[in-house]
Structure formats: structure tokens, C-alpha cells
Symmetry: C2
Subunit: 283 residues, 2 copies
């Protein structure tokens, strides 16, 4: 593991590391913010999953989350959004292949060899982080758009692994929208039965743990009606009796200006859960 960026930020350190991933079979970069408290004790970790086209850089440069992480004493780990490298399969378009791993384990070629972002994000990366940095085993997870989908799916598939989960503008029902249909068709094949285990709306019914979901959505998001469709999550949560706080924000779009505006409330939500308090967000 090699440190490739090391920058003071809000009294802590915003670092970027490069390492060999055995799960993905390639070299990966991830970012980690260590708050000032990490100089003296182990701190819990929020995993942030970014959206289509992003790398580990977008969130750390644009979201302004370090201020809140420093206030609450939480580390933030940001993985890349897909496997990387010249021998990794790719496709035309920003919504399949590199930058578009969808946080699942692909089963179809040419994707199955490298595209195992679920296992990387849920298992390999936390094991590395927990072995190498001053962090506890307490984890929270959040993300944006494709990464919001990833956060919800990682939490729903892995009961007990996260103390809290939240999402900005998530793709809540990938099986029913164009982004998800294209990606799932390629990564998982045509059989829609295999898609259900990677779809938050499908997973809600069988969730073994009723971890409350906090979802913020811009009401003027340009992808709202075609790709995001939060009302499907609302219906699925109601049917499953799963606690969901869905907040619609008039005027806000899909950009990082939206994330920046509300990331402080998400950090507070995760901090409350990581402290062992009831992590119920305000409605």
C-alpha cells in the first residue's frame, strides 16, 4: 500500500492510497480522511460510494464533508467506482464498465473477472482499512446516485455490518430504470431473477435487519423521473414495514452542490448511530 496524497485538512489528514486488490485483480486507489481525533484514539468509519464517472477524488474535493467528520471524530473512506487498469474490460458510454461498477459482483464475461465491487467495498477494503489505520470496526455507509444504490444494497445484503446507512439521490430500483437495466443486463445477464439481489426495492422485503434508511433527494434533479424514482423505495419500505426517511428538497439538482448542502446532516445521523444512539433522522 502506497500513500500518494497526504494533505492537512480541518486538523486531520486527507490521504489517498494505492494498493493491489486481490478481489478485483487490479491496482486500486482509495481516499481516507482521518479526523484529528484519530491521532489519539481509534475512530469509526463512514464508507462513501460515489456515482457514475467518479473516482476516489470527487467526494473529497467537492462535498466539504471533512469539516463534519472532524467535528464528530469519524473517518471517511472513499473507494473508486470500478476496477481500473488497461486489462480491465470497458465499454462505450459513461454508464457501463470503468467508472460504472454498480457495486455488485458481475457473473457474465467480460466483466466477471474484475467487476466484483461489492466484495471489494464490503469485505476487502474494510479489512485493509481496519488493519492499517487507527479505526474501530464500527462502520456506516452512504453514497450518491449509483453510489446511493450501492450503499443501500450493501447495507441490506449484509445485516449487522453497518450501524447506519444513508443515500443521496440513489438509484433505488435499478431493475426498473435504464441505467440499471443496461448495467445489470451486462454484468448479470438477461435473467431478471439474478437482478433482485442487487436491487434495494427488491431487497427490502426480505431484509433481516430493519436499519433505518435516510434518503435525501433533490426535487429538481434532472434524473428524478427516469432513473431515480424514489417513490418506488417509499412504496417498498411501506410494504415491508421498513423505516425510511425520504426528504424531497425543492430546487436542488443532482450535483455536488446538493450533496454539500446536506452532507452535514448525514454525518450527524451516522455519528448518532455510531455513538450507539438511536439514529433516527428528523423527518
Amino acid at each position: 500500500m502506497e500513500c500518494i496524497e497526504h494533505r492537512a485538512c480541518f486538523g486531520g489528514w486527507q490521504d489517498v492510497y494505492r494498493h493491489a486488490s486481490s478481489v478485483l485483480g487490479c491496482t486500486m486507489s482509495f481516499a481516507i480522511y482521518l479526523p484529528p481525533q484519530a491521532a489519539e484514539r481509534r475512530v469509526p468509519v463512514l464508507y462513501w460510494l460515489s456515482g457514475l464517472t467518479c473516482t476516489e477524488q470527487n467526494f473529497i474535493t467537492k462535498a466539504g464533508a471533512q469539516r463534519y467528520a472532524a467535528e464528530h471524530g469519524i473517518a471517511i473512506v472513499c473507494p473508486d467506482t470500478s476496477p481500473r487498469g488497461e486489462d480491465v474490460a470497458d465499454a462505450e458510454g459513461y454508464d457501463l464498465g470503468k467508472g460504472a461498477g454498480f457495486y455488485l459482483n458481475a457473473t457474465r464475461e467480460p466483466w466477471a473477472r474484475h467487476y466484483r465491487m461489492h466484495d471489494y467495498v464490503v469485505h476487502e477494503l474494510p479489512a485493509l482499512v481496519e488493519a492499517q489505520f487507527p479505526v474501530t470496526g464500527e462502520r456506516a455507509i452512504s453514497g450518491h446516485s449509483m453510489g446511493g444504490h450501492g450503499a443501500l444494497v450493501c447495507a441490506l445484503r449484509n445485516p449487522g455490518r453497518y450501524r447506519s446507512v444513508s443515500a443521496f439521490s440513489p438509484i433505488v430500483a435499478p431493475s426498473q430504470v435504464p441505467w440499471g437495466e443496461k448495467a445489470f443486463g451486462a454484468y448479470l445477464g438477461a435473467d431478471h431473477a439474478a437482478w433482485k439481489q442487487w436491487d434495494a426495492c427488491e431487497l427490502l422485503g426480505g431484509a433481516a435487519e430493519k436499519l433505518p434508511l435516510l434518503v435525501d433527494q433533490g426535487a429538481d434533479d434532472e434524473f428524478l423521473e427516469l432513473q431515480l424514482r424514489p417513490q418506488l423505495l417509499q412504496a417498498a419500505a411501506a410494504a415491508a414495514g421498513h423505516p425510511l426517511t425520504l426528504r424531497m428538497h425543492p430546487g436542488y439538482d443532482h450535483s455536488y452542490y446538493f450533496i454539500a448542502s446536506f452532507i452535514g446532516e448525514h454525518l450527524a445521523h451516522h455519528a448518532a448511530a455510531l455513538r450507539g444512539q438511536a439514529g433516527v433522522p428528523r423527518g
Copy 2:
């Protein structure tokens, strides 16, 4: 004037406009953050001047300043760093020509025709902003690196025009460092007498107004010793009896992670001055 970006952010709006500049003889873009208070009353304006290679985008995407601007009810206007367009002179290297206007009025060809960033930033842009947006005539100014130089020089050359001034990692003595020597030699010619009116350390002795200077500098800034040399500003301020708060921050570098970490304190400093309070920063 044409609005090319309009995004909700911390209850206000982060907009970008394009307009024809008569001072610069080209089309320019600038960003303006309008805090929520601007929906109900006129608000004062902080002008932010960015550093080498930047456009109007860097500060608005990376500094996280909108949160504080929304708290204090201050608009933030970010101009570009040079004239732009195909017929605007340019040079090899990132430190001369486009992206490197140094906030002065050039007198030498091929630069003199378009490179009049001082007059644009101090006069034309504020006149436009004050005519078109819900703002008062109260102004503050700040910036980073080349833009920190610009903020100090604009304030020192124009007594009474700004209520407060601050800078991050400014080029305090361009006449004495490589970045400034290259730019001033090209824009102003070889005669160093002409350089003095664009050099903060030189201007301090004759300043008609003792506006307190707030300067933050990373102690691990990679440009500290060669290009920035804050001790020259400290000596010039002492000799002139000019109030200066220079804060050195161990560990911090030249990046936006440094700006983000302390921009909240600068907004508070400017807010105090714009409210008519003594704008004396903590030491």
C-alpha cells in the same frame, strides 16, 4: 448577460454568468453565490480572486464557502483569472497569459489590449453585479496565491472601496519572486519602478487606509520559500505600522484543502467588518 449555471446550494443559489466585458474586450464568465437572505434583502459581497490556472469554477466547487456565506448572509463573486478567447494573447507555461492575469493592468504588448484584470475586478464587475443582483455597495475581497496578491493589491490601491481584505497563501512581493518577475516583466516591462504599484509589500508604505490584513499561510506550502515569502509582508507591515494578522499553519500545503479548512474564519472576519464591527481577526 447570460446565466449558464443555476444550482440550489445551502438554501441559496450558486450561479455562473457569461457577459461581454468592455474593459477586457472579450467574453467573461463569473460565478456568484446568492445566500438565502438575498431573496428578501440586499446583501454585501465578498469578491474572491483565484490563483494561477484557475477559472471561476475552482473556488465554488472546492472551498465549501457557501455554507458560511449562507450563515452570514454574504454573496460571493468569483471572476475568472484572466481574459479569455481565441484572440487573447497567451504564452507557454501556466504562469503567464491565460489563467495568469495577476490582477493588474498590462502596459506592454501583446498583453495591454486585453489584460486589464485590475480594472475589471475593481470597477467593471462590481458595477455589473451591483446593477443586476440584490446586493449592497458593501464589498470585501479575498483570494488565494496569485489571487491573494490580487486581493491585497486591489485593497491597498483603492482606499475606501473594501470594508475588509484577507488572503490565503498570497504572493506578497511579486517583484522579488520568480512568478512575479516573469509576469511583471511581460505585462509591465523591464522598469522595476512600474512594478511597485502592483506589489503589496511596496504599496504598504504609502497606503492611505490602514485596513487590517488577515493572511493565512500553510507552513508546509510547497511554494512558501521561493514564491510566497510571507516574512516580507510581515516586515513591510511592521515598517509601515500597518495592522497585519499573519497566521502560519503547521502541516498545511497550498491546496484547496487548506482554503476549505479556514475559509469559515475568513467569512466570519469579513462578516464582522461588513456589519460595521471592528474586523480584527484573532491572532
